[in-house]
């Protein structure tokens, strides 16, 4: 079976054969919680489609999205880094499908196969670049520019132009109140870059959106391609 997940795809055929017998195919429904704060991480997931969100928590029910992983990456990164829990919350934001592998077994396989570990460590480096640019964007860019960036990042991780993101989630992504999302979507729509309807955003002018997003978009994506391979 050919993989759509970019990490599994980037592995050598021999390394794919190491993982393949242990991968379990699963539906990843919207809202599925993979990792809860400070709870043991039981599995690693390799999404083939859909989007997962990594949330830094501020108390029990508030937080901001600090990272995004879909078919470009994996969920359960602490296990790659010899840690078995994290203060973050990780859940499925856009439904998809993917493969899961049991955590202890995964760690043993990494110990035995340096080439798999190396690829996944390069992914951690690429992901960490993504989060540093999120920090840059949160500090330097307007809500509109940051929205453009997140839409591009979501768009990169799927095949079609329709992104099923709710306004509630966009507020969590951007760390703003709901009406600020309504206004930012309205601005990007006014510029003709997107079309927003209830629960669905359609990317109309990708190149213009990239230009609008400015320095927040592009560097982490180039870094991913240098370290792993094709992102989109």
């Amino acid at each position: 079976m050919a993989f759509n997940n970019r990490l599994l795809r980037a592995l050598s055929p021999a390394d794919q054969d190491v993982l393949r017998p242990h991968l379990r195919w699963s539906e990843l429904e919207r809202g599925t919680v993979f990792v809860s704060p400070d709870q043991p991480i039981t599995h690693v997931w390799f999404p083939e489609s859909g989007l997962s969100s990594i949330i830094a928590m501020a108390g029990d029910d508030q937080g901001i999205e600090v990272g995004l992983a879909g078919r470009d990456g994996l969920v359960g990164m602490p296990l790659v880094l010899d840690a078995n829990r994290t203060p973050h919350r990780i859940f499925m934001q856009v439904a998809g499908v993917g493969h899961s592998i049991e955590g202890d077994l995964f760690r043993t396989l990494l110990d035995d196969h340096a080439s798999i570990r190396k690829l996944l460590l390069r992914y951690v480096q690429a992901y960490s670049t993504q989060t540093t640019y999120t920090a840059l964007s949160n500090a330097m860019h307007t809500v509109e520019e940051r929205l453009a960036r997140w839409l591009l990042m979501s768009h990169d991780r799927q095949d079609d132009d329709e992104i099923p993101l709710t306004h509630d989630f966009l507020a969590l992504m951007l760390g703003v109140r709901r009406p600020s999302v309504t206004i930012a979507l309205h601005s990007l729509e006014g510029l003709g870059f997107i079309k927003a309807t209830r629960g669905l955003i359609v990317v109309r002018k990708r190149e213009e959106l990239e230009e609008f997003a400015g320095a927040g978009y592009g560097v982490p994506e180039a870094e991913y391609e240098r370290l792993i391979g094709q992102l989109r």
Binding site: V143, H167, R177, S180, I183, H186, A196, G199
Partner: protein, 86 residues
């Protein structure tokens, strides 16, 4: 929890909140609108862009407008006093 819609009247047109938000009550819908107004003012100050006059129209789950929150309500009292003295 009831659903509230927070539409925006920017002075020339109404920007629709198509999805609405589940909020405890009208008071928390007001708090959400005021919080958003503060974010809009903050962005306007930082970028030097005008946000124009406007207000939030809070509608219930039947989409009937039940409360209006003016953007000016979110301005710090000291700023309002300072502007009045000018």
């Amino acid at each position: 929890m009831p659903r509230f819609f927070l539409h925006i009247d920017d002075g020339t047109q109404r920007i629709e909140d198509e999805e609405g938000s589940k909020l405890t009550d009208l008071a928390s819908a007001r708090a959400e609108a005021l919080g958003a107004a503060r974010q809009l003012w903050a962005a306007a100050m930082l970028t030097g862009r005008d946000i124009g006059m406007g207000s939030f129209l809070i509608a219930n789950d039947q989409d009937d407008v039940i409360e209006t929150v003016e953007l000016d309500e979110a301005l710090p009292e000291a700023l309002v006093k300072r502007l009045r003295r000018r």
